[in-house]
Amino acid sequence: KAFPAGAATMAEANPENLPPNVPEWNKYLGYSVDWQPYGLPSEYEKDVVRRSVEWLTATREASINFTPIQDMHGFVTPNGVCFERHHGGAAIVNPVDFRLMINGLVDKPLVFTLQDLMRMPSVSRFYFLECAANSGMEWRGAQLNGVQFTHGMIHNVQYTGVPLRTVLEEAGVKPNGKWIMAEGGDSAGMNRSIPMEKALDDCMLAWAMNGEALRPGNGYPLRLVVPGWEGNMWVKWIRRIEVGDKPWFAREETSKYTDLMPNGKARLFTWEMDPKSVITSPSPEKPVLHKGLNQLRGLAWSGRGKVKRVDVSLDGGRNWQEAQLDQPVLDKSMVMFRMPFEYTGQELLMQSRCIDEHGVVQPTMQALQKVRGTHSVYHNNSIQTWLVNKNGEVENVRLG
């Protein structure tokens, strides 16, 4: 058996608690049903938390934290660890004072309370939300040695809310209303332009995630859901939607969230999150602890529709096998894929490759760089390589 040095897993079991002995928790009363009216994870899971990268941003309020995807066991991200990206901190909004305004090219500008919106026909849907900058630090080379940091700007929850279409129709969109602008109620007043076609298609105004109210850091009491499109557009604490005939070219869709190409031109309105996947265990945080049979797991998604297939390679992309996908596979939702593998102490170069229902394929970093260079910042959906060394330790490496 190979054990990486310093692994918490190495903690020796206490023989007092092993059969034939009977541990204390098997004899004496545990906590009562009144212990935690709102529950929390076990004290032994205290490492499963959001983390941030201090050097990434100037302030802690205009910054980001990362979902511990290495510890996720299914496609649902529990609300407690859903990554957050704020531009002026997480706003604490009193839902009684919350208002949503619709103005611009509408028959009648309207102001809604939260209850007004909840009285509209609503739906629940699972969607992933990925920041366009997820894996953005990896454009030039392998930088961050942890899948939480390379791929953790993502989460996947069940949203409940009203279709944006319903709300827009209530105000009555004028024939020349071709765009909307969504505006946040936080101190950044985050604003983004969205084409009317998408707004009327599958966008939602959501008040719940995973069955309960949105968390403050994720937009409580109301956020925009823009399925499959970059997270920055999913305006949190949304206070206003304006209908217009042209896009706004807000700071977040010009200065930021545009993709600079090697020729100095930048791609504008790069909304879709392309097919992507990553092996979450093994990963730098999850070394291979045992020789013999092991299980590999990972997450895959496509902003263009359903994941059709995920392939896995253990030899740096020379040979691939199809992984097993957890059911159900839903539109624009994460999928967990799994594959058994034998570890004999050999070096492995692990990769995964997602293909969506439209046949769009997750590319290699070489293929991406050939087209987009290394200053693109956003939309890095390239194949990730993990080196598993002879001790079972895992490192983020770049092949070439």
């Binding site: 692994a7 983390r51 700071r251 030899d315």
Partner: protein
Amino acid sequence: GDGLKLGLGTEATPEQVKGWNIDVRPDGKDAPVGQGDAMEGEEVYLEQCAHCHGEFAEGAGRYPVLMGGEGSLAGPNPVKTPGSYWPHASTLYDYIYRAMPFGNAQSLTPDQTYALTAFILWVNNVVEDDFVVSNETIGSIEMPNADGFIEDPRPDAQPEVVCMKDCDVPTEIVGRAAQIDVTPEDGGGVAVD
């Protein structure tokens, strides 16, 4: 609208809309009445902005640089600033009013915001020091990189075939994150699972 209304929500009064309708579009739509030039802007800037963005908008610490970068976009070290990158002057007004100064949003007057816009355009050599930015002019300022943006051609970088066996790919390790050593110390480590 198709006339089939749910009857929910309350009509927004013009006054209500005015209070929240803070956006300004490239064509100047919805720009509030007001004006300011670079010299007026500099005064506000030094008081409310310089400690984060630098006296000359050159940035401080990790705070954004607001000037320079011309001609750098195709080079090895692109510097994206309002002068070098932003396609529209309106974005300055729109963003500064809604989000700056950081932590005290929507506190500037329209005149102050026009003046700050003029100041940042001036340090970027986009306008002269006596140019007055106002609701009248903001929609017609030519930005250096106005033509710098293209449509999104994705999906791109697609393989010709999806190879499954004996694929001809480079498998030499050319970079290692552990050597770069920028990963936060408490990286989650290994736990029970």
